[in-house]
């Protein structure tokens, strides 16, 4: 299973990952639209939150819009999604996000672009 592993101890809070993510998927530099969220917990202390592909959301979806792909990544069929956000509300790690820009929620699909952009190697795509 492929997923984005986070190393918060390395994070410097530069926000490059969020910028990369939101620009990639929403064509807009807006941290609220990023599928990875960086939160400052204290001085030089950051929390990194992105989907770990646990799959709890799959069983929550009332329309069957969530399923694992060949790499084990939980992907959403946006045409099927009805925007109910049960996947968001019941995500054990609170890594499924929503924004008023569109009805459908969004989450990390382990594309790896943020990991490539991260200047301090705080993010890593792993297959386990």
């Amino acid at each position: 299973m492929k997923w984005l592993k986070v190393h918060p101890d390395k994070c410097v809070g530069c926000g490059t990952c969020m910028e990369t993510c939101s620009k990639t998927w929403f064509k807009e530099n807006n941290p609220a639209l990023s599928r990875i969220q960086v939160t400052e917990k204290g001085e030089d202390n950051y929390d990194l939150n992105a989907c770990n592909q646990c799959g709890t959301c799959i069983d929550m979806c009332p329309v069957g819009a969530l399923a694992r792909d060949g790499n084990g990544i939980v992907r959403m069929d946006e045409k099927k999604c009805v925007g109910c956000l049960m996947c968001v509300g019941f995500c054990p790690t609170k890594s499924f996000y929503h924004a008023p820009k569109r009805p459908e929620p969004f989450k990390c699909i382990a594309c790896g672009l943020c990991a490539k952009a991260c200047p301090v190697e705080a993010l890593e795509i792993v297959t386990e």
């Binding site: 109910c84 049960m86 019941f90």
Partner: protein, 724 residues
């Protein structure tokens, strides 16, 4: 297969997109004259009636006259979801409300159901549908939101029972794939609805995981009876326009934020609060038993030694777990539980392996303790057949409980019942009676299906049963059977059941805990205030298309500590959520006070509507003695110390009195309390002593429409007006 269904009539309409929760047009279909029309929704109609049940009643008012009977062609079934119906972000937003002149109560009734019919009707282009007229042969009405056509087909179905016809129609109006079937919803009744006044309207949704049609019910009041009287075998709606912003809300952010917050509450707290996600409403079974509120043997008793056999833990094991059991998208409360792989033991489906939708608490009790059967498998079979035959499980259970008591008291015998011993607990015979109700041939079964009010007359006239005795324990008000809570221990709940618009259902107010257990309503004025606020607050859900369960079957963690108890009972944070999501969809700017006013407008309109139909006065707010207290010695003797104390609290010393004398004294005292309650409630609601809304009240609400005022002025009497 559509080619095999003969098209009788077809009408093409202009699509009307949803804007701010409304399509701004309603659909009229006359199945007799095969006429169709789209009617515009005015801004005034939205302001005065909001939507849902409000639209239903407005359209029904215009369709009938004061002499209209339930089976007259002009009677309608009007169905509307309301402006919030179909939002997916906030749990419980897929309800429709159906209104009609009821065969049971001979006045307006409204009943609601989940399933996908309400949302699909809206995206198909209509805020409501009126079904009027009577077809000559069985028909299927189809609203095709993709093609913008309304069609009437001659039905090809020999079996109109709900599961059969629903599954066939999901197949027929989809491409046959599992995913495509969810864009279809079917309304149906069933065979028993042709003979019984307890006919329910089944509303379907396609369960993509189980790959079956699930049925939710607008159960009460006889809507299914009217559907079959009109020879409508089914109503189909289909549309592929489902999406997360199908209501075109003005502020989707608010919907997302409030919805997600509630999902989180449910995620964090449901397992400790009501366990709706695992057992649904049957979590109440043992709680009601503990407080002597579980209807047992026709409401004689409120508890039973065999409660463990119907404990929620038993149902938890029967229900399939881990499936998103919402009856509309986004309902993470997921109380629409189902039992899979259930093998039917009796009747026409014997041997078939089915999914049983439910039971909910009311069904678990109505077709359980109330008829003296403590066997969940029997309850499941009864639940399945009631839905399949199109019978309301609540009226059915309470009606059967009445039959059992008549049998126990010797008022009816095997001679009358065509050989059936119908004592409490006679499970096999009671099931046989249900099957006979669907066959429509047996005279006794036909009489039972007419409801408790008619049974009292028929048993008296046909079998010589004592009418006055049956009046004491026949659990009906305004012609409809009491739902499944023992009301005799709470004065406020007498009102919650019997001072209602449409009879003793559990739709308006449930005050037993506030009143009896938590002692939060000490005075008659307190009870009256609760019987003003809660019926109106709960009416509001019916105007906008919401389910009430996510209101207080889940509460914020700090609800009980943040507010004083009387306010905590309102769940203030959730009330604010409702205000916020209404504004976010419609762009209006209501507050929690305006919310109550919106409901009061329709509540009072419906009361006047009933007055127009020859009901709706004080004498129509009947209450059977058993709802007020014990009627026979065995009830008193089940809790002698408790009832002796009850008698003492009325100022009567029970010492030296026989049980019969004690019962008579307590009845006398409680009837006096009932009168006080009626006065207090009428006054608080702005009604006169006879239960008629005053013109002053109508003016305050902006509901002084000329035709409404004319009805009030025709019936109101000077002597019934309050002095001040």
């Amino acid at each position: 297969m559509t080619k095999e269904m003969k098209l009788i009539a077809e009408w093409t309409y202009e699509p009307s997109d949803v804007v701010k929760g409304y399509t701004n047009q309603t659909l009229y279909v006359n199945v007799g004259k095969q006429e169709f029309a789209a009617k515009a929704v005015s801004e005034e109609m939205k302001l005065k009636f909001t939507g849902g049940r409000g639209f239903d009643l407005k359209l029904l008012w215009d369709a009938v006259n004061e002499k209209t009977k339930w089976n007259d062609p002009e009677n309608e079934i009007v169905i509307s979801g309301g402006p919030l119906c179909g939002i997916t972000q906030y749990p419980g937003a897929g309800k429709f409300y159906a209104a009609f002149i009821s065969p049971l109560t001979e006045q307006t009734y409204d009943s609601n159901a989940g399933g996908h019919f309400g949302p699909l009707l809206k995206v198909a282009g209509f805020d409501a549908i009126e079904l009027q007229g009577k077809a000559e042969k069985d028909v299927v009405v189809v609203i095709d939101g993709d093609a913008c056509k309304v069609q009437i087909f001659e039905s090809i179905f020999d079996d109109v029972n709900a599961y059969t016809i629903t599954e066939e129609l999901h197949e027929l109006f989809s491409d046959g794939s599992n995913d495509d079937k969810r864009y279809v919803s079917v309304l149906s009744a069933g065979k028993a609805a042709e003979f019984s006044y307890w006919g329910c309207i089944n509303s379907s949704f396609w369960d993509i995981r189980r790959k079956v049609a699930r049925l939710k019910q607008a159960g009460r009041g006889g809507g299914g009876t009217i559907l079959r009287d009109k020879k409508i075998a089914a109503v189909v709606v289909k549309s592929h326009k489902l999406s997360g912003d199908m209501n075109k809300a003005v502020d989707i952010k608010v919907l997302q934020d409030r919805g997600n917050k509630l999902h989180r509450e449910i995620h964090d707290l449901d397992a400790q609060q009501c366990r709706m996600r695992t057992v649904g409403t049957p979590h109440l079974n043992e709680i009601m038993n503990e407080y002597h509120l579980l209807p047992t043997h026709n409401y004689k008793f409120g508890a039973h030694k065999d409660i463990d056999k119907i404990h929620s833990n038993v149902y938890e094991k029967l229900f399939t777990q881990g499936i998103p059991d919402g009856c509309w998208y986004g309902c993470s409360l997921a109380c629409a539980k189902a039992v899979d792989n259930f093998t039917i033991q009796t009747g026409p489906c014997k041997g078939k392996v089915v999914t049983v939708d439910g039971p909910e608490y009311e069904t678990a009790v109505a077709l359980g303790s109330n008829v003296g059967v403590f066997d969940p498998y029997w309850t499941l079979e009864g639940n399945f057949y009631a839905d399949h035959y199109g019978l309301d499980t609540i009226s059915l259970g309470t009606g059967l409980a009445f039959v059992c008591e008549c049998y126990e008291r010797g008022y009816i015998t095997k001679e009358h019942t065509a050989g059936l011993d119908l004592n409490f607990g006679q499970a096999a015979n009671l099931m046989e009676l249900i099957h006979r109700m669907a066959l429509g041939k047996d005279e006794f079964a036909l009489a039972v299906g007419k409801g408790v009010r008619q049974m009292k007359k028929i048993f008296s006239e046909r079998y010589g049963a004592p009418y006055e005795e049956m009046e004491k324990f026949g659990m009906e008000g305004q012609g409809i059977e009491v739902s499944e809570y023992v009301p005799k221990e709470s004065i406020a709940q007498w009102g919650g059941f019997f001072l209602t618009l449409k009879g003793p259902q559990h739709d308006e107010a449930w005050l037993i805990f506030m009143d009896r257990v938590n002692k939060q309503l000490p005075t008659f004025e307190d009870k009256a205030e609760a019987l003003h606020y809660f019926p109106n607050f709960r009416t509001w859900f019916s105007l906008v298309g919401l389910c009430k369960l996510p209101w207080n079957d889940i509460e914020p963690a700090d609800n009980a500590t943040k507010y004083r108890p009387q306010d905590a009972a309102k769940v203030p944070e959730h009330v604010q959520n409702y205000v916020d999501i209404f504004n976010a969809v419609t762009g209006r700017n209501i507050d929690k006070e305006e919310l109550i006013l919106m409901a009061e407008r329709v509540y009072n309109f419906q009361r006047v509507f009933n007055l127009r139909m020859g009901k709706g006065t004080r004498k129509d707010h009947n209450i059977p003695l058993r709802a007020l207290g014990p009627v026979y010695a065995d009830e008193w003797e089940a809790r002698p110390e408790y009832y002796d104390n009850e008698l003492k609290s009325t100022g009567v010393d029970p010492a030296g009195l026989s049980v019969e004398e004690k019962i008579a004294k307590l009845q006398e005292a409680r009837l006096a309390q009932w009168d006080k309650l009626v006065d207090a409630v009428y006054k608080r609601r702005g009604w006169d002593r006879n239960g008629i809304p005053t013109v002053k009240k109508l003016k305050e609400l902006g509901m002084d429409l000329p035709e409404v005022v004319a009805v009030v002025e025709k019936h109101a009497r000077p002597e019934d007006q309050w002095e001040d």
